[in-house]
Structures are given as structure tokens and as C-alpha cells.
Amino acid sequence: MHTVMGLINLEHEHDFSNQLTGSRCGAAIPFGGRYRLIDFTLSNMAKSNINEVAIFTRSKYRSLLDHLGSGADWDLDRRQGGLFILPPDWNDPHDISQGDLKHFHNNQDYFERSSAEYVLVSGSQFITNTVYHDFFQHHLDTNADVTLLTTTYDELLPEHKQCMKACVDEDGTVYSVKQDSTCKHIFSGVYLIRKSLLLELVEECIANYKNHFFLDGVIANSDRLNIQAYNYQGDSSIINSVESYYRQNMALLDRQSYKQLFEKNNPVLTKVGNQAPTKYSESSIVNRSIVATGCVIDGQVENSVLFRGVHVSEGAVIKDSIIMQRCVIEPGAYLENVIIDKDVTITKDQVLKGAKEHPFIIAKREKV
């Protein structure tokens, strides 16, 4: 795969529009006890030997910068290649590009500098643990111009509604992409394209005042491009709303799902925290939960996900909840169906209860 470069394009990605994304983009939302959504895509790329990855981001990227740093935790701090977070600092007075084409136009040097032949484009909301070798091979085998990574789900969930669906004929060729629930192939947002073709289509889009590279540059040209679908069989999920976010966190409490996403020989890479092992005291009662390192558990935790460094005091009860980094739950507090963002303190005897289908969210750094 050393002839492939990575691009994580966050420009057209749905924002969750709630307290979790007040100061961070969706890609930076904490997930699964120690990760952020973007870790899954980034790990998949890194483990597929993609050594150069760019991230197109327009706003609220500060926490991404913090989280990703130099890329060292993904082995992406390289002299050749590496990780490039590309915020919108554009100063070309002749620039007429729009939408995500603005990113492509202003970061053209990133593509030109690389010796890679192909570009693997992705968003951050398709959650799976994989390497892209088979996908890449499929692209070569079918002689495709563009290959979309698609998947199918037994049950259509609310989060799948807003996904693009690929309409595919018998031999796997994509003839259009629609919001059409009769199409079974859900587009993951991941696609592969030759770099030279990408640059050509970018130029064409800009000249024609287009603003969405994938729709206007790729799909609109399905008559003249060979667009293939690669149907991915692995376990995956899509997280693009609070509801799907909450449900997918909870799904990990099942040992099978946990083992599938966090395969031990193929770990998901994330920022290293160097926390001590989690400490359980005599008074702790913990069942069916995911607990990160650095926690101190003196209270009761059930059906919940605890991020790093959470302190649960004696007599506190946490049920069906997600508690992010460094929260302090004081004695006697009772939490059910809540999502507590980073650095929150829940004071003594406080009771907070949301609904499963509508969890109660507390924004970061609050004291409630």
C-alpha cells in the first residue's frame, strides 16, 4: 500500500449539533473509553502502511490538533510523509474555488509533493477495525477509476438514513449515489482514486464553480468513469448522531462486539496517556462496564463506559452512562442514561436521569 496516501476530509461531515460538539468537530468526539472517532479511520490507514495522511478541516479543529499532535502515536511522525492537519489558512487572491474544493485547491502541494499514485479518501464516522489491502486489490482487479467502500446492515437504523446509498448493478459498477432506501449498499465515505485523476477532476470542478468534490467531481461523472463498489463484510457501525453515538458505546459492553472492534493483534491506535492501572476498592461494585486506566472506583458502575481518570466516590451510582475523562462523581450521586463530557464534577447526592433514546448531556468543565 505504499503507493497510497490518505485524506480524511471533514468538510462535508455532519456535525452532531449538540453540547458534545460545542467546541470540537465530530471527528474529535471521545468514544469507547479512550478513543476519539477519528482514531478508527486513522488507525486503519496507519496499519495499512499509509504513511502520509492529510486532514481537511474547517473549524473547531483545536482538539484534533491536541489529540493528534505530531502523529507519533500512530507512527506518523515521519520525514517522508507524515500527518498533515490542514486548517483553512488560505491567501491566494485568485482563488475561486468553493466548498471542499477550496481545500483541494489550497493544499495542492500536499498532493504534488507525494510520490503516491493513489489517494484513499475517508470521513471519520465509519467505525471499524480493518486494513485496506483487499479493498485496494479490488480496485486494481476491477480496473476501476474510483472504488467506493460500501457495506450492508441487516437492520436499517436511524443513522443509516442520512448516509449516501450506492446504486450498484450486477457486476458491481456504481451508476449513481442517492438518498434511496431501496439501495442496500450504504456508502461508508471511504473511496479510492488515482491521484492524477483526482487532481484532474478537482480542476474541472473548480472551473465549473462546483462545491462538492465527491458528488460533483466523481458521482456526476459516473457515465464516463468506472466506479466500482467494494462490499465490506467486516463488523462496522456509523456514528453521526447522539443517538447512534450512545447506542454504539453501549454495544461495546457485549464481549463479542468488544473483541471484534478491539482485536488484540490489531489494536486501534490512539493518543497514549500513561495512566496507572485502575484501582478498585472494597466498596466498588462494577458490572458490565468498560473502564479505562487511571480511574479510582469506590462506588457502583453498571452498563457504563468510563474514560481515563474518572473518580467514582463511595455511594455513587452510575448506570447506562458514558463518563468522559477526569470526571469526578461525588458520594451519593446517581446517574442514569447520561453522557458527561470531560472534566465535569457531579456534586454530592446529585441525581441526573435521561432517557435511553435521549440521553442527558452535560457539557465539559461544568460542575453540576
Partner: protein
């Protein structure tokens, strides 16, 4: 490039008293505290003390140790200008030379040290569990205008016969050094941590290298010679937790110390974090059937059984109806169903099959399980138990 101070970390010891724990592993690489290896404490001390030029002397079974240290990233020692250098034995035009004693290993790396032209040399060992700011030791050394300073610890009088004991004036000047004295006159024990004026030490090392009777050891040879020459030797009093986990018993005890209500030593201090390698495993999964009492559990563990006063390193799985009591489980171990372990140390990647019961009595040394336990071994082990 000149550096004021170079640190030499002795990590070549075989740690033979740790038995099976060090069979194919240098002692500094033995796992400790649920996620660390012993050397992490010394390396993290270097980071917190801002000692950025560190030579690590290795000799015995260094593969895992080298892999763990890697390029020194976790300790910010992967720098261009100074950072960490692993110093293994090497050959020169007239043949090769192994390191013979602690002092000899420094002598053989004089060239490494000289390239930084340091004023001071700190010598530490990778064998101990403690938090220490070496910079304070260095400042003390400079303030006393010492030629050598030895870090010391007050030990209980009844244990003085196990240590190198220093006798000092009120001013902390050392006038006498006794190795394992029967009737100690002081209870200040050497921790094997030294600061030297480099130029002075260099002379003593070169003299010592010529001696055919010397064992080339700091405690046995260099320090006594310096004392005899009336050098300015001072003690530096260290206060805090310091443990030489040199035997199976003390290794197990140091772990139980971590679980005490009033912790004598804390792993989760925010101001003195211990850094280590991270395997990027997922957070631990605690299952419906789990019960956990006073235990430490690391990433990647899946717990369906009962833990009591135990320490689980990463990637350990404990199936249901099993009871792990006062035990230490190294990375990757698999504990089957209905297993009972008490005062047991399970080594890396060992599998304990269903229905095994292994208990070391309170007055016995904890049992170390080094290989996957078949039914036969389990039966044999049971002879150790109170059953």
C-alpha cells in the same frame, strides 16, 4: 556538545535471586505494578529530574529490555542532541571485553561520557522502585563541594546487616563505610545511587582498572579507595519509598504495598507520573459476573471472575467462577473457569486451565507459574497448598 551532567543507568544485572522471573529477562525488564517494567521508575525519575543525557548499560539477556526502552520515546529521551544511548559491550582492535563489575562498566564507556565533557556523573541502578529527583541530589553534591555523594536511606536498625552502612559526621561527611556490618554504628544505608565529580572519578576508575585484585565495583572498591584517600565524600538523605525488589518475596510484597489503604507508594501521582510503553489495548471490560475488591487492573483485561487484593497487567482474561487472591498476573495470561489462585505470580502469556487450584501458604514464598499449567503441573502445585 558539553553537558553539565551525564547519567549512567546500570541495567546489566541478571537478578538471579528472582528465579524464574529473570530466567530469560534482565531484572530491569521484569514487569511491575500492573503496567510497568522495573526500569520505568528510574527512567521516569530521569525525565522528572530533567536528566536528559542517559547511558543505559546492558549486558544480560537484553532483548526484551532493549525492545521496551526502544528509542526512549515514553521518557522524552528520543532527542537528537543528547537523549538515551544503550551501551552494550563491544570489541576494540585488541579484542572484546565484557563488563566485569559496576565500576568496570563505566570504565569501558569513558569515551561515551567524555564526548559530553561533563562536570558530574550520576550513577543509578535500574533495579529499584522509587520516586526520586536526582537534580536535588546533584544540587546537594554541589552545595557540599563534594567529590562524591552517596544517596542514603534510613533503614530499621535490625536490618542494617543487610546493607552497606555509612557513618557520617553531623555535616553528612562520610568517614566510614561498612559492607553488611554485624554491629552497625549508623542506620544510613547506601542506595547504590552516586554523584561523582567526573574528573575525580575518571582517575579512580583508571587506577582501579589496573588492579588485578579489584572486583571493579563501586561499593566494594571505588568508594573504599576514595575514603582511604580522604576524598570529600558526603551522604544525601533520601526520604520516601524505596524498594529493592530483589527476591520473589520482596517483589510480591512491593505489589501488596500498592494496594494498601495508606499507600506507601503511589503509581497515580499526577506530579510524578511513571512513563512506560503503551500497547494500545482497549479499556478493560468488566463483565456481569465480575467482583473486584481492592485490586489494580490494566487495559485489555476481560474480567468475569472475582479479584481480591490482586494486580492484573494488560491483556489478562479471568473467566467466571474463578477467584484470584493476593496474586500478580503478568500480561497476556489466561485464567480459565473455576480457578483458584492465592499468593501466586503468573508469568507472561501463561494459561491456567479450568478448575485449577494453586495456593501458596502465608509462610511460604509466593508460587511463580512460568509455563502453561497442565493438569499434571496443577496437581504437583497442589502439594504446596493447604489442601
Amino acid at each position: 556538545m558539553k553537558k553539565e551532567c551525564v547519567t549512567m543507568l546500570l541495567a546489566g544485572g541478571a537478578g538471579t535471586r528472582l528465579g524464574a522471573l529473570t530466567k530469560n529477562l534482565a531484572k530491569p525488564a521484569v514487569p511491575f505494578g500492573g503496567r510497568y517494567r522495573i526500569i520505568d521508575f528510574a527512567l521516569s525519575n530521569c525525565l522528572h529530574s530533567r536528566m536528559h543525557t542517559v547511558g543505559v548499560l546492558t549486558q544480560y539477556s537484553p532483548l526484551i529490555l532493549h525492545k521496551h526502552i526502544g528509542v526512549g520515546k515514553p521518557w522524552d529521551l528520543d532527542q537528537k542532541e543528547d537523549g538515551l544511548t544503550i551501551l552494550s559491550p563491544y570489541t576494540v582492535t585488541n579484542g572484546g571485553n565484557w563488563y566485569l563489575g559496576t565500576a568496570d562498566s563505566i570504565t569501558k564507556n569513558i569515551n561515551y561520557i567524555e564526548q559530553y565533557d561533563p562536570e558530574h556523573l550520576i550513577v543509578i541502578s535500574g533495579d529499584h522502585i522509587y520516586h526520586m529527583d536526582y537534580d536535588k541530589l546533584l544540587q546537594h553534591h554541589k552545595q557540599k563541594e563534594a567529590e562524591a555523594t552517596i544517596s542514603v536511606l534510613e533503614v530499621p536498625w535490625e536490618e542494617t546487616s543487610r546493607f552497606g552502612i555509612l557513618n557520617t559526621t553531623d555535616n553528612l561527611r562520610i568517614y566510614d563505610f561498612e559492607e553488611k556490618p554485624v554491629n552497625a554504628k549508623s542506620n544510613l544505608a547506601s542506595m547504590g545511587i552516586y554523584v561523582f565529580n567526573w574528573k575525580t572519578l575518571r582517575n579512580y576508575l583508571e587506577e582501579d582498572a589496573k588492579s588485578s585484585t579489584s572486583s571493579h565495583d563501586f561499593g566494594k572498591d571505588i568508594i573504599p579507595t576514595m575514603l582511604a584517600d580522604n576524598c570529600r565524600l558526603f551522604a544525601y538523605r533520601f526520604e520516601g519509598y524505596w524498594k529493592d525488589v530483589g527476591t520473589i518475596e520482596s517483589y510480591w510484597e512491593a505489589h501488596m504495598d500498592l494496594l494498601k489503604e495508606e499507600q506507601p507508594f503511589s503509581l497515580d501521582s499526577d506530579s510524578w507520573r511513571t512513563y512506560s510503553h503503551d500497547s494500545n489495548l482497549a479499556p478493560q471490560l468488566i463483565e456481569e459476573t465480575a467482583t473486584i475488591n481492592r485490586s489494580l487492573v490494566n487495559n485489555g483485561c476481560i474480567i468475569a471472575g472475582k479479584l481480591d487484593h490482586s494486580i492484573l497487567f494488560e491483556n489478562v482474561e479471568v473467566e467466571k467462577d474463578s477467584i484470584i487472591n493476593q496474586s500478580i498476573i503478568h500480561p497476556g495470561a489466561r485464567i480459565g473457569k473455576n480457578v483458584e489462585l492465592e499468593r501466586v505470580i503468573v508469568q507472561e502469556n501463561v494459561t491456567i486451565p479450568d478448575h485449577t487450584k494453586i495456593i501458596a501458604q502465608q509462610d511460604e514464598e509466593p508460587i511463580v507459574l512460568s509455563h502453561t499449567v497442565g493438569q499434571k503441573d496443577a496437581d504437583a502445585a497442589i502439594s504446596h497448598t493447604i489442601q
